[in-house]
């Protein structure tokens, strides 16, 4: 459904998106992960035909994302990062306006709007001004407006940022529901737990696509074991561990120090024999399964020793 080939975007001196190639089959929930400024929004805007690619190309259903942008538009919906509906118009007026803008025939409009209001739980807010809704409701309304023309593809730019857990759950339920009906979903986020909900995940760092795989595949690409140490006091231990030879990185997880290292077993043996850090005491250790945050950290920090040959696209840009 979506194919990117060496897609690139340069703003002046800055390379926002650097030769990204990937393909996203129809029906997927694709999660696009990356820090702020990694180039997620720019990639999405190029896909939506809002920004012209500097070079490379992208195809949606076989049509060029820039050249055929007017032809592609009816096929997808787009939910921008910022709330971009009309705050002085009511919920129903916003929906009707976007219906007209997408040339939805009058005949099916009422039924369509009723369905969307039901799915987004906004029936009680029909006559409320969009500007008066809570953050979560605004975001749900934005999704409803983007779905008014029943697109087969939905782009969402950080749809859950700033939402409370209840609305986040509601948003994801809505996306699952859409996906089960065959809609392809392309969503950017910087919440790692949300990445686990996607069928495919792509990591973007400084404009470059580091890897694209399923969440399971990504975790399996983690060949090294993950060591967690219990130490007291924990903060000095973290600082000391960070600079220890053989350690790539350390992060604090539930009060324990999680160690990223190429060969954690050897390190543990050494530390158990002689604990080299006088500022803290070693209390114990355990081995843990990597989660998405670990995977992302490993890819974005370039801990290649921890990622085995199974990482399919890790060497894509080498």
């Amino acid at each position: 459904m979506i194919v990117l080939e060496q897609l690139r975007k340069v703003f002046g001196e800055t390379v926002a998106v650097d030769r990204v190639s990937m393909s996203i089959p129809a029906g997927e929930i694709f999660g696009f992960l990356g820090a702020n400024g990694a180039g997620k929004t720019t990639t999405m805007r190029m896909l939506c035909g809002l920004t012209r690619p500097t070079d490379g190309r992208g195809l949606i259903d076989g049509r060029d994302i820039w050249r055929d942008r007017y032809a592609i538009r009816p096929k997808f919906g787009y939910v921008a990062q910022r709330f971009s509906l009309y705050p002085d118009l009511t919920v129903i007026e916003n929906l009707k306006f976007f219906g007209g803008a997408y040339r939805v025939p009058q005949a099916g409009m009422e039924r369509r709007i009723a369905g969307l209001l039901r799915n987004t739980d906004l029936e009680g807010k029909r006559a409320a001004r969009a500007g008066s809704l809570s953050g979560g409701m605004k975001q749900l309304l934005a999704v409803a407006c983007a779905l008014i023309h029943e697109p087969m593809l939905l782009f969402l730019d950080e749809p859950t940022s700033g939402l409370d857990p209840v609305h986040r759950q509601q948003m994801w339920d809505l996306l699952y529901d859409l996906s089960s009906k065959g809609t392809t979903i392309f969503v950017t986020t910087h919440y790692m737990d949300e990445a686990e909900r996607c069928t495919e995940v792509g990591f973007l760092d400084q404009g470059r696509l580091l890897v694209k795989n399923s969440p399971e595949g990504l975790k399996e690409s983690f060949t090294s074991k993950l060591l967690e140490l219990e130490a007291e006091p924990i903060m000095p231990a973290l600082a000391a561990l960070r600079n220890a030879p053989g350690v790539l990185g350390v992060s604090l997880r539930s009060g324990r120090a999680r160690i990223y290292a190429g060969d954690a077993e050897t390190l543990l043996t050494q530390w158990q024999r002689a604990w080299p850090f006088p500022e803290a005491r070693l209390l114990g250790h355990r081995w843990v399964e990597p989660d998405m945050e670990d995977v992302f950290k490993a890819y974005s920090q370039g801990y290649h020793q921890m990622l085995g040959a199974t990482a399919p696209e890790a060497t894509l840009h080498a």
Partner: protein, 393 residues
């Protein structure tokens, strides 16, 4: 292909924006009739009245008293006696007058001894027109006074003079008679026989108000969407840029037609201004509004924020207000400035409106103005549509 649904959707949404912003809506609807009233009164009459001028009669002769009496009636002045034995150059500011007249000592006598002395007038030159007006009025009063005293002199001539005149040849007597008669001008006023200045300025007032409102209202529309990010949302829909532009202009066109009608109603019912050739005038108004709205939209598409576009609009409107010939004839400006003024739609609106309403010219005579406004509307709207694309690059 343009879709009517698309245009109407944008127009409907834009109408809702207008209706929802109650404060601005009330202001916009109240302003045209109110400003027409205020400006109408301000420019109702161009003749000066009750200009405060001080006078001091240092002569105290029969002649000076008679002259004083003759000018006392003049409505143009409000005479105030000057403090006696004041300084030779009057202090206009502290006397709160705009001019000061001194009849010098021995003036009455000088009129009969063959060396008439001038009256002395000081005027405030900071306001260039009032000074001229005072001196003109006084010059005329002095002329009238001179004519009266000449007639009186002729009536009182000694019999010998007439006897002597009898002996002169007829031609010389006729020539002398003609020279003694005041030579006059017979003036006939065309196009505005009652010389109602209000009829001249009404198109200027209406044009000015509408120019102001259309440009400032329109200037915010696209910039607001750019600021709030909704422009992106619009651009991913099936709407074409032309549909967005037309859809945005339509409701404002409707609103401004309503406003122009209200201003015209005030002019007609309150000031009694007559409007001829209504269809041609409507066409002029329509094209002017299209052109002004287009310009506002162009500014809006060009600017990134609403603040920017309002500032832009003000910088554009300033020269337009001063130079478009709304209140004073354009012909008084230097040729180079006139050329600049020709690029403003308001200039063409005022010219065409006056030509049709006051001079009853046929439509061919103002074709140039109409074509200019039409082109302005098309070019500015096309430019706005083109600039909308900029967010895509």
């Amino acid at each position: 292909m343009l879709s009517l649904t698309g245009i109407l959707s944008v127009a409907y949404k834009e109408t809702l924006h207008i209706l929802r912003d109650r404060r601005i809506l009330i202001l916009v609807i109240a302003l045209p009739p109110l400003l027409t009233l205020i400006f109408g009164y301000a420019f109702d009459s161009s003749a000066i009245t009750d200009v405060p001028v001080s006078i001091e009669d240092r002569d105290q002769s029969d002649a000076s008293q008679a002259f004083w009496k003759s000018i006392e009636q003049n409505k143009a002045f409000q005479w105030r006696p000057r403090p006696a034995h004041g300084p030779d150059v009057p202090d206009l500011v502290h006397e709160h007058v705009q001019g000061s007249l001194i009849i010098p000592h021995g003036w009455g006598q000088s009129l009969t001894n063959g060396k008439p002395a001038p009256l002395h007038l000081w005027v405030d030159g900071s306001d260039t027109s009032t000074g001229e007006e005072i001196s003109g009025q006084l010059q005329q009063a002095l002329g009238d006074f001179q004519r009266d005293s000449r007639n009186q002199m002729i009536d009182n001539l000694p019999v010998e003079v007439f006897d002597m005149a009898e002996k002169l040849p007829q031609e010389v007597r006729d020539e002398f008679g003609s020279a003694m008669e005041p030579w006059t001008l017979k003036m006939e006023v065309l196009y505005n026989p009652q010389q109602r200045f209000i009829d001249y300025v009404i198109p200027g007032i209406i044009g000015l108000i509408l120019q102001l409102l259309t440009v400032t209202l329109m200037a915010c529309t696209v910039a607001r969407e750019r600021e709030s990010g909704t422009l992106y949302q619009l651009m991913v829909t099936s709407l074409r840029r032309t549909e967005i532009v037309i859809g945005k202009v339509l409701p404002y066109l409707g609103l401004s037609i309503l406003l122009i009608a209200m201003a015209v109603a005030v002019a007609y019912f309150h000031f009694g201004t007559q409007f001829q050739h209504l269809w041609v005038l409507s066409l002029i108004c329509f094209l002017f509004l299209c052109c002004s709205l287009g310009l506002g939209l162009l500014i809006s598409s060009f600017c990134q924020t609403q603040t920017q576009s309002i500032q832009f609009a003000v910088f554009y409107l300033l020269p337009v207000l001063m130079l478009s010939g709304a209140f004073a004839p354009l012909e008084q400006l230097p040729p180079a400035i006139q050329m600049i003024a020709q690029t403003f739609p308001l200039t063409h609106f005022c010219h065409a409106f006056r030509m049709v309403n006051m001079h009853s010219v046929d439509i061919g005579f103002i074709a140039g103005d109409l074509v200019f406004m039409l082109l302005g509307a098309v070019v500015s709207c096309a430019g706005a549509a083109l600039l909308l694309q900029r967010i895509q690059e």
